[in-house]
């Protein structure tokens, strides 16, 4: 059968058998389109296949109708895969396993796909549905597929008393090897003659372990083949056999983007989250080459399956209303004029220049995530100091922005086609102004994640956003009330500069020729005190640094360092000084700030211990926090009532660990959520379940699918995956019959989240939500009998610290 495959030219070759690819193959088979589905592994849907046993696969978004020859509904991994395998066989789809595509050449109507086994396949169209997981590099020797050869290690404690060979001397391999030595006999194979390009900590650990004979290392070792009871290794001394019970190969993965780019598909920029440019029918810039599924920016299974179906229809030249059409119709129902979806889309693109560069597909996706508002004149859109972070575009009408908190009559008006709300998006901080509609208007509100996705995928959006944002930030933070034309000289010199955590913006003693407006992140201010760099204060986004040298024409009086990754606007000194010369109000504000800073510098230099505390807290990541739990250990009686309160108010799982975490002097930073300005947990959440509400709490909605991305992305380890524990017996039952845990007692065992009853439900991510649904505020703080626990906003707290504790 493969012979004929190679000879005849197929209509469509589908690469990757995930939900998108399977659905495409299913549709092609049903419609009688000649096709082949190429899968590099020996089973379908490798990403789902690798889910842990019994994991629940969610079918979100519920509202989206499924359009596929295959069925799909919420269920455990085994059932979902089993159904698909059966249905794809029933449809007689042509699936070719163990077929890794290594190159694609040709053009629309005549593509040639080269496979790793040397076979070539001809097809008129190619559909990429390869997902985002990348190709894990295999050993590349005979026997690499044996059951006891594995390419990942979930839980090192799962194995004991085995001889385990770890192949690969990168960070992943070393970390696995070290973790396995506790209970096993470990041999590590290093292709080189030493350990290179690994983290310093791992290098020290692995060399110590080898010196102590805890791990055996074979250097300059090449794998030859895997046998029944071990692996044959070739070293400069010749071939030897290493007997073992298990092989763990950690050889890295090749990211899919590289391969996709090699096929000619363009990405708008180097940002790893950017997506390939696609037409409304999923066609890439290479005619005849289509991209669907997660790689195209649609990480949800249902979306991917719909696209698989649709892409085959499009290839056959059929027209088809997208599956999201009814959803958009509903969304646009309130728009006056009774327009069709495509009319509304056209109207939006015409009205809002920012969105005019989007493809239809991008616009649809953008609007699907967004909501449409029709405020009346005078309605408040959002208030100053709200923590919301959505973005607004004005399709019709206009809004007033109140730029002066003291004087509500001072407003800047924005009209049709403009946008607002981008400052909260950039800085991750509270809204800087109140905005209200000035006439009956039509607004589109877009959530933060969709906007970031758009900025990263569409170059023109990013450019326009940057330009407008620069002017607005200068107006807001430096020169309030000054019209843009007066700032033109200054704005022309502005550059956006990025700094990694710990990088220096400028040093004490340097000549100052510019000023930095912190747009994102935060910085520390430090000075040399008796030969040692001592932190004296902390500056958050929305403030500027470097004005002292410009006002006094003296060298820089302090060193500025990025406390977290920082984006800052660099404003040239000369036009800035000219602006101060021209404008009395600006000069006064800047000089008042100058005097304030000077006094602050003196105060904190007199109190080096305060600097020590700031430095410590910055090291704990407070530079990006908006609200953090601290414990004063001089007052803490270690009763753990905070943890108990947390568990009791949150289904038995405490979201904080009091004892874990570092301590400086008597300030302890327990392991608990800091509600970051730019939450790491939000970065890669497929159903967009992580949200921030107006008061700043970052919380998880019920749409969580339990994928665990947020848990992995959180650098502070404050998100857990937990099942809802069974309902506790009531107080009387506990009192009279001793059933279940009492009030405040930790739930575990039969009543805990890990019990059998609970395991039937899905594990979902849980984290601190600052008790947003509980009256009276965070339970941990309210339950602390001695007042040791307190929640603080870092910038406020640092101010208190600088003024003396």
């Amino acid at each position: 059968m493969y012979e004929t495959l190679m000879q005849e030219r197929l209509k469509v070759a589908i690469v990757g058998s995930g939900p998108a690819g399977l659905s495409a193959a299913g549709r092609a088979a049903a419609a009688g389109v000649s096709h082949v589905l190429l899968e590099q592994r020996d089973h379908v849907s490798d990403t789902i296949y690798k889910y842990q046993k019994g994991k629940l696969v969610m079918a979100t978004p519920d509202v989206l109708p499924l359009r596929s020859e295959l069925t799909f509904q919420i269920g455990i991994r085994e059932d979902v895969l089993g159904t698909w395998e059966k249905q794809i066989a029933d449809l007689k789809a042509n699936v070719r396993f163990n077929s890794e595509v290594t190159a694609i050449s040709g053009e629309k109507g005549d593509f040639t796909l080269k496979l790793s086994d040397g076979t070539t396949i001809n097809a008129e169209y190619v559909v990429f549905a390869i997902g985002l997981q990348g190709n894990i590099r295999l050993l590349g020797v005979p026997g690499q597929d044996r059951e006891w050869v594995q390419y990942q290690l979930n839980d090192p404690d799962e194995y004991s008393d085995e001889t385990i060979v770890v192949v690969g001397a990168g960070d992943a391999g070393i970390e696995n090897a070290l973790a396995l030595t506790k209970q096993n006999n470990v041999v590590i194979l290093n292709r080189g003659s030493e350990f290179a390009r690994i983290k310093q900590g791992n290098l020290t650990a692995i060399t110590t372990a080898i010196e102590k004979n805890q791990i055996e290392c074979i250097y300059s070792a090449d794998t030859v083949r895997v046998e029944d009871d071990g692996i044959i290794v070739k070293t400069p001394q010749g071939e030897t056999k290493v007997k073992c019970d298990r092989i763990i190969a950690r050889l890295g993965a090749s990211p899919p983007r590289k391969f996709v780019e090699a096929c000619g598909i363009k990405f708008p920029n180097a940002d790893p989250s950017s997506l390939p440019e696609l037409s409304g029918q999923y066609e890439s810039n290479v005619p005849g080459l289509y991209v669907i599924g997660a790689l195209a920016g649609y990480p949800l299974i249902k979306q991917a399956m719909n696209q698989g179906y649709e892409v085959v229809e499009y290839i056959q030249g059929k027209q088809l209303k997208p599956a999201d059409e009814p959803l958009l119709e509903k969304k646009f129902a309130d728009i006056p004029g009774n327009r069709t979806v495509s009319e509304v889309l056209a109207m939006i693109q015409e009205a809002v220049p920012l969105l005019s560069g989007l493809t239809t597909l991008q616009l649809r996706e953008f609007l699907l995530d967004s909501s449409v508002h029709a405020p009346r004149g005078g309605d408040v859109i959002f208030e100053r100091n709200d923590y919301t972070n959505s973005f607004y575009s004005i399709v019709d009408g206009g809004v007033n922005i109140q730029i002066n908190p003291e004087d509500e009559t001072k407003v800047v008006a924005l009209g049709k086609g403009a946008f607002f709300g981008e400052m909260g998006l950039l800085s991750g901080r509270r809204r800087t102004a109140t905005v209200m509609a000035n006439v009956p208007s039509l607004l589109i509100e877009t959530p933060r994640r969709s906007m970031i996705k758009l900025i990263n995928s569409v170059e023109s959006v990013k450019r326009v956003m940057d330009q407008v944002a620069v002017g607005r930030q200068i107006q807001t933070y430096i020169a309030p009330g000054i019209p843009l034309p007066d700032l033109e000289d200054l704005i022309r010199t502005v550059r956006v500069e990025k700094f990694d955590q710990g990088a220096v913006l400028f040093r004490e003693g340097e000549n100052g020729d510019c000023l930095y407006l912190i747009q994102r992140g935060s910085v520390t201010v430090s000075r040399e005190v008796s030969g040692k760099e001592t932190v004296i204060s902390y500056v958050a986004a929305g403030n500027y640094v470097g004005e002292m040298a410009l006002v006094s024409n003296a060298p820089r009086s302090a060193t500025i360092r990025a406390a977290v990754a920082v984006e800052a606007l660099r404003l040239d000194g000369v036009p800035f000084q000219a602006l101060m010369g021209r404008n009395e109000a600006v000069r006064r504000t800047i000089e008042a700030r100058y005097r304030g800073r000077m006094l602050e510098n003196i105060e904190t230099t007199e109190q080096p211990e305060a600097g020590g505390i700031i430095q410590f807290l910055i090291e704990q990541g407070l530079g990006e926090a908006t609200d953090v739990l601290l414990i004063d250990e001089a007052l803490c009686v270690r009763c753990d009532n905070c943890e108990k309160a947390c568990a009791e108010t949150h289904q038995g799982t405490s979201r904080l660990n009091r004892e874990a975490g570092p301590t400086f002097q008597t300030i302890h930073v327990p392991t608990s959520c800091r509600h970051c300005e730019h939450p790491h947990c939000m970065v890669d959440c497929p159903p967009d379940a992580l949200r921030r509400n107006a008061n700043g709490e970052v919380y998880i909605t019920d749409s969580c699918i339990g994928c665990g991305n947020c848990e992995r992305n959180c650098p502070y380890g404050v998100i857990h995956m937990a099942a809802k524990p069974p309902k506790k017996p009531g107080l009387l039952q506990w009192l009279l019959f001793g059933r279940g845990p009492g009030p405040g007692q930790a739930v575990s065992g039969k009543w805990g989240p890990d019990s059998n009853k609970a395991a039937a439900g899905p594990k979902k991510a849980v984290k601190c939500d600052m008790c947003k649904d509980v009256t009276g505020g965070p339970a941990c703080v309210r339950a602390c009998p001695t007042g040791a626990a307190l929640r603080v906003e870092p910038s406020e707290f640092f101010k208190v610290v600088s003024q003396g504790l």
């Binding site: 007052l635 400086f664 009998p785 001695t786 007042g787 040791a788």
Partner: protein
């Protein structure tokens, strides 16, 4: 940074307690009981008794409030601060209620139990104010579990270091690893020390043997001794940590059960007064 429960809210509950005490004292001073004998049976006696009984029940309610998570109302810190001051005020209110009449009866039993509960609370207050800071400094950023891990690591290193030093030393090191205890009974925990510490003995014995050791083993002995010294230091801190934790907890074993005994005695006291007096 922020305040202890004593100065909490600018001594709000101290002021309340002081007001109650001042009124009670003033009334007692002004009160002119029949036959000139103050006792619980006068109108003032009943009033003070009523206030005292209410205070006792209210003070005990703290145990329930503390475990009621997620509701509204004042934070637990308010409750504790008030619990402390109003509990202390109870000394005066309760004593004045007795009219200084004591005897071998259920009434005095209730009074004595009340005083024991209050003074165990005073000890607890002292522990709560003093111990956390000592505990923090003693831990130096480590948790007790981390100390235990490090002690166990040092045991392993000691055994490796001993390998080159002959059977006797190996036996000493092994015994030290197996017989060293942290914590134990109540007295042992509160003492923060172990007079029969196996590691201390081992250290002494190794030092003794080192004096007569051949010169080629000098280096090995030095290493072993430094490891043992580090372990001793960690043990010292770990035991002190246990002592501190015990100090924070021990008084509750008196305070809580005797509160319930007090409640029982109080009911007996009231019932007997009303029905059998």
């Amino acid at each position: 940074m922020h305040q202890s429960i004593l100065i909490f809210r600018n001594f709000r509950y101290l002021k309340w307690a002081a007001a109650i005490v001042a009124v009670a004292l003033a009334l007692y001073w002004l009160h002119n009981p029949a036959y000139g004998i103050a006792n619980g049976g006068t109108w003032l006696g009943y009033t003070l008794g009523g206030i005292g009984a209410f205070l006792i029940v209210w003070l005990m309610w703290f145990g329930i409030r503390k475990r009621r998570y997620g509701g509204g109302g004042a934070p637990v810190e308010d409750w504790l601060s008030a619990h402390v001051y109003l509990g202390l005020a109870l000394i005066i209110v309760g004593t004045l209620h007795t009219g200084f009449q004591f005897g071998w009866n259920v009434h005095t039993l209730a009074y004595v139990l009340m005083m024991v509960v209050i003074f165990s609370g005073v000890f607890g207050l002292f522990a709560y104010l003093r111990v956390p800071e000592l505990m923090t400094h003693n831990r130096r950023g480590m948790t007790l579990v981390q100390m235990m891990h490090e002690i166990s690591d040092l045991d392993t290193e000691c055994r490796e270091a001993a390998l080159a030093l002959g059977d006797e030393i190996n036996q000493i090191v092994l015994t030290a690893a197996q017989n060293t205890r942290i914590g134990g009974g109540v007295i042992r925990q509160l003492s923060g020390d172990d007079p029969d510490c196996a590691t201390r003995d081992a250290s002494r014995n190794v030092r003794h043997l080192a004096d007569n050791a051949p010169s080629d083993q000098a280096e090995g002995y030095r290493l072993l001794l430094s490891l043992l010294a580090r372990k001793e230091e960690l043990l010292f801190r770990a035991r002190r940590d246990v002592r501190y934790k015990a100090l924070l907890d021990i008084w509750l074993y008196v305070h809580v059960p005797l509160s319930f005994a007090l409640l029982g005695a109080l009911i007996a006291h009231i019932v007997s007064v009303f029905f059998y007096w």
